[in-house]
């Protein structure tokens, strides 16, 4: 008996439930990893940039937070579906397909978590003492070097906080995901979708309950890990 099967037995998870857990983790990790560079860039733009249409960008970033998730999911379907302009372009040029694939679930999760991520990072960028960056400049560091050696380390706690928030959001994302990529076991059936499915069939409460327990455990683990990392980063960044 292998380790995975052992764990499965111990938790009492069936193969379908176990698949949903693994898929959720994969979707959430990819969603966060792929959106992080964009999240930092957009946070920088919003915190530091002065350009026409800044309010518009800010609005667009925050839109998924206030729109009904179903609307966001439908908009993704229109844009990134097989027939959608972006979807067909990406499929033809790069072979990246979102429609009814786990990648689509990751995209939906990333979009829904993005405002939370950007918000946390933007706040930490705004709290950075820019005089430190000036000092780094006088010491011969060019703007990119200043960002990498001074700004980035100082905003690390904010990046961690944003990442954890986005991850939590990605794990729990339901409405946009099910609208965009449906609820296909093994491909797009994440934890919330699986719980929903269990609740739709008679006698499914046991599975729903087990998956709920797993959700709580993952959420707690993420929270503890982020506390630990933030404390370490905080020590690294001194009092600031």
């Amino acid at each position: 008996m292998n380790a995975a099967a052992l764990t499965m037995d111990w938790l009492g998870l069936g193969p379908q439930e176990w698949t949903a857990v693994r898929l959720s983790l994969k979707v959430a990790l990819w969603a966060v990893a792929a959106s992080l560079p964009f999240g930092i860039a957009v946070a920088l733009l919003l915190a530091r940039g002065r350009f026409w249409g800044k309010a518009l960008l800010n609005g667009a970033v925050h839109l998924p937070l206030i729109l009904p998730p179903v609307v966001t999911g439908y908009a993704l379907l229109l844009g990134f579906g097989r027939q959608g302009p972006l979807g067909s372009f990406l499929a033809e040029q790069f072979g990246i397909v979102f429609a009814f694939r786990w990648t689509g679930a990751a995209l939906a999760a990333a979009v829904m978590g993005f405002p939370l991520m950007v918000r946390a990072i933007r706040l930490s960028i705004e709290s950075v003492d820019r005089r430190l960056e000036q000092a780094a400049g006088t010491l011969g560091a060019n703007p990119l070097q200043v960002f990498l050696t001074v700004t980035l380390p100082l905003i690390l706690p904010g990046i961690l906080a944003g990442t954890v928030l986005a991850f939590a959001k990605a794990m729990g994302e339901f409405g946009a995901t099910i609208t965009f990529v449906s609820n296909i076991p093994g491909e797009t059936q994440t934890l919330p979708s699986a719980i929903y499915t269990f609740l739709q069939v008679p006698g499914g409460e046991g599975g729903a309950l087990r998956l709920t327990a797993v959700s709580v455990a993952i959420a707690m683990a993420a929270l503890v890990a982020s506390e630990f990392l933030a404390r370490r980063a905080g020590r690294g960044a001194g009092a600031g």
């Binding site: 003492d129 005089r131 430190l132 000092a135 006088t138 690294g236």
Partner: protein, 386 residues
């Protein structure tokens, strides 16, 4: 040689400055609001001037006529800020080494060990900036700027945020920097005592314009050029040599061009160069050699000029062996004593301020530094002497 000629408007304030200096430590002196910080920010590249040119030696940093403005990171200006601005996420050693890696190997002249030694910060290397005192932070900030091997060191009121004891802790290091490091220093200050002690040259700023520029001793005599509230600190700056010690009365005799001066026993070897400041308000004028007077230092001289100042004051410039002492007296005294140019007088010096570490102790860069001056060896507290 540092040269600057800029015009810059900032709201209602206009800066219009022009000066040159070849001094080792040039003080930018003026009250707050005179434009000092704007000026150094223009030199460092943090502000781009509306018009003008700034150059360090042959190297042009800004020339608006040629549309040239080097970005901050390529200016090679070491900037010591008033608020040290150490990186909180790095240790002291990492802070110190921050600038090094951005400088081409061939252009690095500052050696880590040498700088750490010069500033006495060896025991702090492993610490975080948050664990340092204000004075220690400022020393590390100076070291960090130096280790970027700058071609000019800017110090923007580096002592202003420190209390008196901390200032005394830093000043000797700035003096050593001036005398031992190869880099010219532009030092911003609004404290005349600091300027007279440190500066070889000074530039007086007022209302965004240069009021006077030149060697410190020449400018210090022109009390009228100094801000009102600092005029009492102005006077003669003399360089002298410790001649001998009088053990009986615990006095030290210092030879200056103006004559021998006696002051309380200094902890300095005969032959050592020292700098002395005699404030104008501490000099009295007598037309005959005074008798029955407790003052030890009475110097013969000739009135060279008398210049009326605001209110009751007159500044008497007294030529003593080619050096000038300044006495601030009243118009009434001028009349009563019938003072006029050419008249022989006696200058009675009530007190003398010492600025340790004369300017003649310059050493070539790269030579081993002398051990850090111990605090009790410090002679500077403006001692009064009857």
């Amino acid at each position: 040689m540092f040269s600057l000629d800029v015009t810059h408007r900032q709201g209602a304030f206009t800066l219009d400055c022009r000066f040159e200096s070849a001094g080792r430590l040039t003080a930018l002196f003026g009250s707050s609001g005179s434009g000092k910080t704007t000026l150094v920010n223009i030199v460092a590249g943090l502000i781009r001037p509306d018009r003008g040119r700034v150059a360090v030696g042959e190297r042009v940093l800004v020339d608006t006529a040629r549309r040239l403005a080097l970005p901050v990171h390529r200016r090679r200006i070491g900037y010591v800020f008033q608020d040290a601005r150490l990186f909180p996420h790095m240790s002291v050693a990492q802070n110190l080494r921050y600038g090094e890696r951005h400088i081409p190997q061939a252009e690095r002249y500052a050696r880590f060990d040498h700088v750490v030694d010069l500033l006495g910060i060896g025991h702090l290397l492993a610490r975080r900036p948050e664990a340092l005192s204000g004075g220690e932070k400022q020393r590390v900030a100076i070291g960090r700027a130096l280790l970027a091997s700058p071609r000019l060191l800017l110090m923007d009121e580096p002592l202003a945020a420190l209390d008196e004891a901390r200032k005394e802790e830093i000043l000797p290091y700035v003096e050593r920097l001036r005398d031992e490091a190869a880099v010219p220093i532009l030092y911003v200050s609004h404290a005349l005592a600091e300027v007279s002690r440190l500066a070889t040259d000074m530039v007086v700023l007022a209302g965004g314009a240069v009021r006077a520029a030149g060697p410190t001793d020449a400018i210090m005599q022109r009390l009228d050029l100094l801000p009102e509230d600092e005029q009492g600190e102005g006077g003669a700056v003399l360089d002298g040599v410790v001649a001998s010690h009088d053990e009986t009365f615990e006095l030290t005799v210092i030879d200056t061009g103006a004559g021998a001066l006696r002051l309380p026993r200094l902890d300095a070897e005969p032959g050592k160069r020292v700098r002395i400041r005699i404030r104008a308000r501490d000099v009295m004028v007598a037309t005959e050699r005074p008798r029955g007077l407790s003052a030890l230092n009475v110097i013969e001289g000739t009135i060279r000029a008398l210049e009326p100042r605001a209110g009751a004051a007159v500044d008497a410039f007294i030529d003593c062996g080619g050096h000038t002492l300044v006495a601030r007296i009243t118009r009434q005294s001028e009349r009563l004593l019938d003072l006029r140019p050419g008249r022989p007088v006696f200058a009675v010096v009530k007190s003398i301020s010492f600025d340790r570490g004369g300017l003649a102790t310059f050493r070539a860069a790269g030579e081993a530094p002398s051990p850090a001056p111990a605090k009790d060896a410090w002679i500077a507290p403006p001692g009064s002497m009857d």
